[in-house]
Amino acid sequence: MEAPTQRHTQPALEVRGLDVNYSGIRAVRQLDLTVNAGEIVTLIGPNGAGKSSTLMAIVGLVQRSGQIYLDGQDVSGFSTEQMVRAGLTLSPEGRRVFSGLTVAENLRLGGASNKDRAAEQVRLLDTFPVLKERYHQRAGTLSGGEQQILAIARALMSRPRILLLDEPSLGLAPKIVDTIFQVIAELRQWGISVLLVEQDIERALRVSDRGYVMSHGEILATDTAANMLSDANLKDLFFGAHQ
């Protein structure tokens, strides 16, 4: 697994003053975060902190207010489909592959906004040979790990510059989790910036450059992943339950 060593300074994704309300309840409050080009950034926090809401709001799946910039361009008013076409996509929590569709159909839909989807598919099938083996199988018949790989590959079919990953290792066997994190680390080499929400915080930070700590819809702290990993307070707060 590649260790994060490069320094990244060019913001690929900037979020300023993001608010999300669900029927009057503020799930996310005045959230600011930045993901630089080629960076992997982890958003950590307890359940109900607003991490998934943040990802869904950035991609436009829930009502939001605030500013979002992609490579400096203001995309705050973009719909979900416009966001995807602009180069940002989300692999949602719980995999959510189209179980009634085949692997091939899932990938085809993933590349619906990519004119060069045939070449992208060849690259992804080489990277994830299991999808080649299961190509004509219905996604619903795949194992949990295979479905997660399909969900990530489907998101990559649009050739995003920024990938939001929500709980990619949730409910998977340890061996599969290794593969998933290997894939996430490789995304850096593909030039894809990643904003990751993950329950296995220690593991997530090991592949990340930086991290944000979130609670009650707000960012409490931010630091490099290395510093966060060695922070005794954070260890007590978050890592204990996962070791």
Binding site: S79, T80, T89, L109, G110, A112, S113, N114
Partner: protein
């Protein structure tokens, strides 16, 4: 044996019309989670268009049928743009009320601007004749019903399997939010579903009015009820279920018509609905529906 074959043909012909009707409702339900009760009025509109194009414009009947179907598709897409898009995301009750409002407005338009009375459809003579195939009496209209239903269903399967928009409609039936994450416009998927639903209403409208020989403002009520029954029987949210439900309903009605004693025939619809309810008690999600329909 001959009687059985004859009844089987009748069941396929009727089931095909119900399948087209059910599929029209299911297309919209699969993307919006809403039963469009104005579907019957779109069907009625296609009937009026058929009469207008064939009688007033004097176009050949085949061309009139195609025009009526296209108009129904366009009209359904227009109802989405004008009536349903503004309430998209509202509660299910609001959306259902909107479908009733569209249905009522179209009724009033038909009654006041066309005629409150039935208008005869100029069905060509060849359509009312029958063919004798190996001792079986097959009505031309019945043969056309079977052929049109099969061609439409095969065409639709091809569209849903091989086109990106069709795939998006299938995926939207499963998970609409994630379909949007594929970079596919929600508006395009929804308006596409309405347009196809309208085309199917036009096709089934042609088969329906050709059979009864007239069109009137309230004509759409019974077909939309049959379509709704077919969709619920097959499983809400399942396109395959709508087709299966349509054919099963057709088979059920034809079987009851053939087997019930004369004095029970007026209760045929009540009996067939009771059987459907019985099936739903055993399988509330429908025959091949998901336990929980997803928008």
């Amino acid at each position: 044996m001959e009687v059985f074959a004859q009844q089987a043909l009748n069941a396929i012909a009727l089931g095909g019309v119900y399948a087209l009707l059910g599929l029209g409702l299911a297309m919209v339900f699969s993307v919006l989670g809403m039963i469009n009760f104005a579907h019957g009025e779109i069907m009625t509109l296609s009937g009026y268009a058929l009469v207008f194009v064939a009688t007033t414009l004097g176009w050949p009947f085949g061309l009139a049928v195609i025009s009526a179907c296209l108009l129904a598709g366009a009209a359904a897409a227009m109802t989405e743009r004008i009536a349903f898009r503004p309430v998209r995301g509202a509660s299910l009750t609001t959306m259902l009320l909107t479908t009733f409002a569209v249905s009522s407005i179209l009724h009033v338009v038909f009654q006041n601007f066309i005629s409150p009375r039935p208008i005869a459809v100029p069905v060509p003579e060849w359509l009312t004749q029958s063919l004798n195939v190996g001792g079986l009496q097959i009505g031309t209209l019945q043969a056309i019903s079977i052929a049109v239903s099969l061609v439409a269903l095969i065409g639709l399967v091809g569209f849903l399997r091989f086109s990106t928009l069709g795939l998006a409609m299938r995926s939207a039936a499963q998970d609409f939010s994630v379909t949007r994450l594929m970079g596919i416009s929600a508006d395009r998927v929804i308006i596409g579903a309405f347009a196809i639903s309208g085309l199917l209403a036009g096709l089934s409208g042609f088969l329906w009015v050709a059979q009864r020989g007239s069109v009137d403002p309230l004509m759409g009520f019974v077909p939309v009820l049959k379509a709704f029954t077919a969709v619920v029987l097959g499983g809400l949210g399942s396109l395959n279920g709508a087709v299966l439900g349509g054919f099963l309903l057709g088979i059920l009605e034809v079987s009851l018509r053939a087997s019930l004693p004369q004095e029970l025939l007026p209760f045929r619809d009540a009996i067939s609905l009771s059987i459907v309810i019985g099936l739903l008690v055993m399988r509330p999600q429908g025959l091949i529906g998901r336990a929980e329909a997803v928008r």
